[in-house]
């Protein structure tokens, strides 16, 4: 059934920001005298105070069909949380209209309304009812919730004595057993240890498998891509893309500040004295466009621009990939060649090594006859994003364990 279950038309939300004008009092004496003056004069017009309209959301329209799993992505301040708050009826829009058909449960925080003095058992009931379950529903699910949370032993202990891990597990367990038609989830997977996060994601997938509609906000792109089928991309309060999740995450990544992927290297002290120097380094995606983040599993390349002042016999340009803990992962060199003065560009293409997600340092070196011309080791960094370029089966792999995730050929034989 592909009937729109959520219909958002030209939604907007404005906040009024009051800026207190800068009053540069220099001494206490001034403060007192101006205070006394204002006693006798009428209240001064507040010329220094300005009111600014902040548009958290503007002109956002989309439709969500029953059974869709929609990831809402965007950078900080894009309006994701505001959108969820409006959809959950916590705050009111200033323009537009939303029509929702079905029972909505929103999970904007893990453990909303948990009371530290109450026991685990009591908090399950309290939190359940806050999330919109009635008493009999909670009773019916109680054992399941307790089993999922793994805190059986401490059910009658006040939650203030829980470890933070137990607290989060119990809180998520309650939330995971909600059975609304539409589930709105914000950033709640960013809690707990890796194993529990996996369990949560699994549970969310189960929920989605039962034909429920899910709206999911997370900065964990890996989770978004694993869970969602569709995506909505917000940027500064405006909807800039919607469609299949891979298309939208791709767009999200391209929307990064590409200037940050281009490193202008400052000139050395006496630029004309040495053999030469690097002028610019840029990190590019497969298509050759400067890119701050590279999807995990995708190819990438580094373009190094340099200038040679004099002939450099046996010239080599080198690139090293080093983890943040200074562990060298790979080093590559150009073929030694006798180079004449001029401006050059060296292109290093990484099309075989799949690094795990995270930050890396790139080391760039120029040398002639084994002697270093220039060595840059803390200037350029590479970021492998959680957004994945891997498809199908490989996506299931955890892209953050180990260092290299190139698959190894494996054959399995049935022996008996």
């Amino acid at each position: 059934m592909s009937q729109a279950i959520i219909q958002v038309e030209r939604l907007g939300k404005e906040y009024i920001l009051n800026h207190k004008g800068a009053e540069s009092y220099t001494a206490l004496r001034d403060i007192i005298s101006s205070g006394v003056k204002s006693l006798f004069t009428k209240r001064r017009p507040q010329t220094n105070d300005t009111i600014e309209l902040f548009r958290a959301l503007q002109d956002v329209s989309f439709e969500i069909n029953a059974g869709d799993r929609v990831g809402i992505i965007g950078r900080n301040g894009a309006g994701k949380s505001t959108l969820l708050k409006i959809l959950s009826r916590i705050t009111e829009p200033t323009q537009g209209r939303i029509t929702i058909t079905g029972r909505v449960a929103s999970l904007l925080e893990v453990g909303t309304g948990f009371h530290p003095e109450l026991s685990g058992r009591e908090n399950i009931f309290l939190n359940g009812s806050i999330l919109g379950m009635n008493r009999s529903e909670i009773q019916a699910k109680f054992d399941e919730i307790v089993a999922f949370s793994e805190v059986e032993k401490f059910l009658d202990t006040p939650v203030k004595r829980y470890s933070s891990g137990m607290y989060v597990r119990l809180a998520f367990a309650v939330a995971a057993h909600l059975e609304p038609e539409i589930l709105i989830v914000d950033e709640v997977l960013a809690v707990g240890d890796a194993a529990f996060q996996k369990k949560c994601l699994g549970k969310m997938k189960d929920v989605a498998g039962q034909g429920r509609t899910i709206l999911f906000v997370s900065h964990n792109m890996e989770a978004v891509q694993k869970l969602c089928t569709k995506g909505i991309l917000l940027h500064q309060g405006k909807l800039i893309d919607q469609g299949p999740i891979d298309q939208v995450t791709q767009k999200y990544m391209e929307g990064g500040d590409t200037a940050l992927a281009v490193y202008q290297i400052p000139l050395p002290k006496n630029p004309d004295d040495g053999y030469g120097y690097v002028t610019r380094v840029q990190i590019e995606n497969e298509a050759g466009r400067p890119s701050t983040e590279i999807p995990v599993g995708a190819n990438w390349q580094v373009r190094v621009f340099y200038k040679l002042n004099k002939p450099a016999p046996h010239f080599v340009a080198g690139l090293g990939i080093v983890t943040l803990f200074d562990f060298a992962v790979r080093t590559s060199w150009s073929k030694p060649a006798d180079s004449r003065p001029g401006e050059y560009e060296a292109l290093f293409v990484n099309n075989d090594l799949m690094l795990v997600t995270g930050q890396y340092k790139l080391v760039i070196g120029l040398s002639t006859q084994g002697r270093v011309i220039q060595y840059l080791d803390s200037t350029v960094s590479l970021s492998i994003s959680e957004i994945t370029a891997l498809g199908g089966e490989e996506r299931i792999l955890n892209a953050s364990s180990g260092l290299i995730i190139n698959p190894m050929p494996v054959t399995i034989k049935n022996l008996k």
Binding site: E92, R97, E117, L118
Partner: protein, 279 residues
Amino acid sequence: MDNRIVIEPGSKSKNYWSDLWKYRGLFYFLAWRDVLVRYKQTSIGIAWSVLRPLLTLAVMWFIGWLFGAAVPAGVPRVLMVCAATLPWQFFSGAFSEASNSLVANSNLLTKVYFPRLIIPASTVIVCLIDFFVSFIILIVLMAVCRFAPGWRICFLPVFLFIALVIAMGAGLLIAALNVKYRDFKYIVPFIVQFGVYVSPVAFSSDYIYGHVGIPASVKFIYSLNPMVGVIDGFRWCILGNSISIYRPGFILSIGLSFFFLILGIWYFRKMEKSFADVI
């Protein structure tokens, strides 16, 4: 489908009251939470809800005795004061907790939707339970003084209800204001502290209304205090014949309490939608 929700700016939800009924489960759980939490980690627990009014009673009795406030013939002073202390204690507790309830539950306001009216309403319930427990004091005192109440005691729930109306009305108004202006956090204790002296707790209303030296305008202002009506009503129910009610003042203060409730609900509803943004 029947459960269609339309979200629009400024939309007055037509089914607000039926929504409120739908969320009665949450109301129950929040009240239950407040009851459970109230005396957690105290060594004497619920005994506090007897001890607190008892101490107030002692102080008020002493003040009345010290200033020689008149007591109707045949009525022990202690019962006179007790019949006023209990509703006053209920009102002051319910009013101050309801006023503070939204800010105290701000984590709920910003994360979950429900009719916000539930929060102050559920805190009042806790104070109601405290009231019933503290009622033991009155029963014991009556037994000690060998004072039996008459048929009028049947009307006690009516006056308790009016006290609840006042506490709710004023509580809703201040709770909504408190969301934006935290000044009310400091004003509320002052109102409560001041109120106990301008309400007939240590003395009787007869003393004010019957006093020749008090100008009529002061008597009028006195009767504007809705708690005057409630306390006079409590005394009338409990102490019987010897208590007379000054009708015009009584009607005025009862009328005002309902006016406060309507005003409170109106303002609360008006501000409700912006709570999550402002708090």
